[in-house]
């Protein structure tokens, strides 16, 4: 295949950092955000959480949990979704999507953990949960699964850096072979762990029945979170692909480009089904829990907005898009879904949380909290760019043709 226009690092020239020093608006914005983020980081870790956040005793979890953790984990679901589709279900034409998906999943989880350190009062004590395991805690399960899954993702992802560095450090070849041999085990392990912690993120809020609005609170919240994470995974692959095609198109090889559209349509079809299912279980749950009277309140309206415009609408758009093979429509539906999932997580964790409290005691994130969240996203993007510039993620390395 034609690789002539992709810059592949070689044994002698391992690094390809030129892209970052180009005078482009993207790089400039990145630099500014990273600088601001670093300053806030210093303030956060020297002056305390209270100095940069609007968190209070009634709202102990705000933007950093609602967005960075809940959305971060959910939107990184593309990793397990793609690997299961490709390796377990045998959809070989997804193959070129696996590496980008695993890469973003790994980055997503890694930065979820980093973002979590901002929110913890004692970030250095994070490992205490293994020393004093509170086994009755949902958070313990989340922590254990995320830690394990992050390791699994790291192993899965490690093929790419190994291929990059193999020229310089040939011993990595053996490791690479081992990892490839374990692919299917890692995939199944990954999907098990993902099921557990994706659903457990919903289960976190099961303990607060009086605080989450009845329209969002349900004993089936774990299921909602898991099902929606599948839709989010599929949508994120499409959504990321959209940006990748804009930003790093020149690092994609012909196979990737050839398969890209087909992947979008397949994922759209899958996401459409999942979103319909998600809509149905949420709707049924509302009826079963006799929450119909709540629909005529302000929160009820808001719930309907979420249900109709951020679940049902993307489901229909996906169905139409994949049927008519309309790439633009599918991408729009993907963005719509991603927004919807973020909205749902915001609703559960912030907007419909503490709904009964007077508005004066309610929470709105401070500008600095938002800055840190933007900072984390920017770090993910930057790390992604670094990886794409150096490692065979969007292209096949000429030395490792057997990989696919």
């Amino acid at each position: 295949m034609a690789h002539h226009n992709i810059i592949i690092p070689t044994k002698d020239k391992l690094f390809n950092l030129g892209e970052f020093s180009l005078r482009r608006p993207g790089n400039l914005v990145t630099a500014v955000i990273l600088a601001v983020g670093l300053i806030i980081t210093v303030i956060r870790f020297t002056q305390g959480i209270g100095s940069v956040t609007n968190l209070s005793d009634v709202q102990p979890w705000g933007m950093w949990i609602g967005f960075d953790l809940l959305c971060g984990v959910c939107l990184a679901a593309g990793g397990y979704f793609t690997t299961v589709g490709c390796y377990v279900m045998g959809m070989k034409h997804f193959h070129s999507a696996v590496r980008p998906a695993v890469t973003t999943a790994f980055l997503g989880y890694a930065f979820v953990v980093i973002a979590l350190l901002y929110d913890l009062g004692h970030p250095l004590r994070l490992p205490y949960m293994f020393f004093f395991p509170g086994t009755t805690s949902v958070l313990f399960e989340v922590g254990l699964c995320v830690a394990t899954y992050l390791t699994v993702l790291f192993v899965e992802f490690s093929i790419a850096p190994m291929e990059w560095l193999a020229g310089k450090f040939p011993f990595l070849l053996n490791w690479r072979k081992l990892v490839i041999r374990c692919t299917i085990i890692l995939t199944i392990f990954g999907v098990t762990l993902s099921t557990l912690h994706q659903s457990s993120l919903g289960a976190l809020y099961l303990i607060a029945p009086g605080k989450v609005h009845p329209l969002w609170y349900s004993p089936f919240m774990p299921m909602f979170f898991f099902v929606s994470s599948m839709a989010a995974g599929a949508s994120m692959v499409i959504f990321e692909g959209m940006f990748a095609h804009k930003g790093v198109h020149h690092y994609m090889d012909a196979t990737h480009l050839r398969e890209a559209d087909e992947i979008v349509f397949s994922f759209s079809k899958a996401a459409s089904f999942i979103l319909f299912a998600y809509f149905m279980i949420k709707f049924t749950d509302m009826l079963v829990q006799a929450n119909l009277p709540y629909l005529v309140s302000g929160y009820g309206l808001w719930w309907l907005v979420e249900m109709l415009f951020f679940i049902l609408m993307p489901a229909l758009l996906y169905a139409k898009g994949s049927r008519e093979r309309n790439l633009k429509l599918c991408r729009f539906a993907a963005a719509n879904t991603v927004l919807g999932i973020v909205l749902n997580r915001f609703n559960v964790s912030m907007i419909a949380f503490n709904y009964a409290l007077p508005s004066a005691e309610r929470y709105f994130p401070s500008i600095w909290e938002i800055c840190i969240s933007v900072f984390v996203v920017t770090m993910v993007v930057t790390a992604y760019r670094f990886i794409v510039y150096h490692m065979p993620v969007l292209y096949e390395h000429p030395d490792f043709k057997d990989a696919h």
């Binding site: 305390g48 913890l120 009062g121 205490y128 949902v138 399960e141 303990i207």
Partner: protein, 358 residues
């Protein structure tokens, strides 16, 4: 070691472990109540409370909490709706119920089976035999999930401390109780609006007060069963006509911010269903996805075999056609011409085979 010996050892080990778990289950308590016989509690009789804030002052003093901006003599602060925080482990709020002021002291309720303890992933919270819910800050990670979990909005967090921020809440003055003293607030209360005693006795005291003064109290001991029961229980005054109040206690309790919708099971139990599914998923998912993998592999294999069979057939057909044609040519034009035909046919096949293969 022979096989039989091995099996018998294995069997006895299984029986022993089964027995030991059974005993553990009995001692550790199936979730029924009370968890600790003879544990202490406090009965807060809001009809007695006069809102003097002596309990707040005492709490502040015995726990060495930072001095507040407004002195404890300033009783006007009761009128604003306050909650407990890292600096104030107890607050007295004034509620106006049907035109009459009612004061209620807020502090950790010291649940029988606390939601914070169920939520903590580093085991910082423990229900103690003396009735208190103890918090150990030395292993606190600062995740604040306990604050999400607490149905009473009690724990506070030291958001302003950069290096050792901890969750803060009423300790039931457990250190003082160990010395044989009463909790600070109880000692300070001039009205015995806080009555200290064994929780089981306090329930009886509460009932007898209701019996002795009919119509004075709401017929509901808040905390007797709420959220699985709490060590601190509250009596609220009945408002208005006795008949209307007794119909629905929530009617009189909600104006005091006492949530009667928490149910009578420990809040933590709400998550046990989800947690219980974990081993099931761990056990079942690999089988499910392993099976799916096997099916897809088998499908691929069948597909591959079919493809090969078709290819073989096509090859046979082609060679039959070529041979028949060559034989015919040999008959008419002689063997040399037949060879040329064979050669041309195989060349042509080679050209078209390549795209077939890839």
């Amino acid at each position: 070691m022979n096989r039989r010996k091995f099996l018998s050892i294995l069997g006895s080990a299984g029986v022993v472990s089964a027995l030991s778990t059974a005993r553990e289950a009995k001692a550790g308590g199936t979730h029924s109540f009370p968890y600790y016989e003879g544990s202490y509690g406090v009965l807060h009789d809001t009809t007695r409370c006069i809102g003097c804030r002596q309990c707040e002052a005492a709490c502040n003093q015995v726990n060495n909490l930072p001095k507040p901006q407004k002195s404890f003599d300033d009783l006007s602060v009761c009128a604003t709706r306050r909650r407990t925080s890292a600096r104030e482990w107890t607050v007295v709020n004034k509620y106006v119920v049907h035109g009459k002021p009612v004061f209620r002291k807020l502090q950790c309720f010291h649940c029988n089976d606390p939601a914070c303890a169920a939520a903590c992933f580093a085991k910082c919270f423990q229900k103690q035999p003396d009735g208190s819910v103890a918090y150990d800050g030395t292993q606190c990670v600062g995740c604040r999930y306990c604050m999400i979990a607490c149905p009473f909005y009690m724990p506070g967090f030291q958001y302003d401390d950069a290096f050792d921020p901890l969750v803060m809440k009423c300790t039931f003055c457990a250190p003082r109780m160990k010395e044989g003293k009463l909790p600070g607030c109880i000692e300070a209360c001039p009205m015995d609006a806080l009555t200290f005693g064994k929780r089981s006795d306090l329930i009886k005291v509460a009932r007898s007060r209701m019996r002795k003064s009919p119509g004075k109290y709401v017929d509901y001991i808040y905390g007797e069963w709420d959220a699985g029961g709490t060590a601190w229980i509250t009596l609220a005054p009945a408002s208005g006509t006795a008949t209307a109040a007794s119909a629905n206690p929530a009617h009189d309790l909600h104006p005091l911010d006492l949530d009667t919708h928490l149910g009578n099971r420990p809040i933590g139990e709400l998550t046990y269903g989800a947690l219980g599914a974990v081993p099931m998923i761990v056990a079942f998912w690999p089988v499910l996805f392993g099976g799916a993998y096997a099916i897809s592999k088998r499908r691929d294999a069948i597909h591959e075999a079919e493809k090969e069979a078709v290819a073989r057939e096509v090859k046979n057909d082609i060679s039959y056609v070529v041979n028949t044609a060559a034989n015919k040519v040999a008959e008419t034009h002689g063997p040399a011409a037949a060879d040329t035909v064979r050669q041309a046919a195989s060349d042509a096949l080679k050209v078209c085979e390549r795209p077939l293969r890839s």
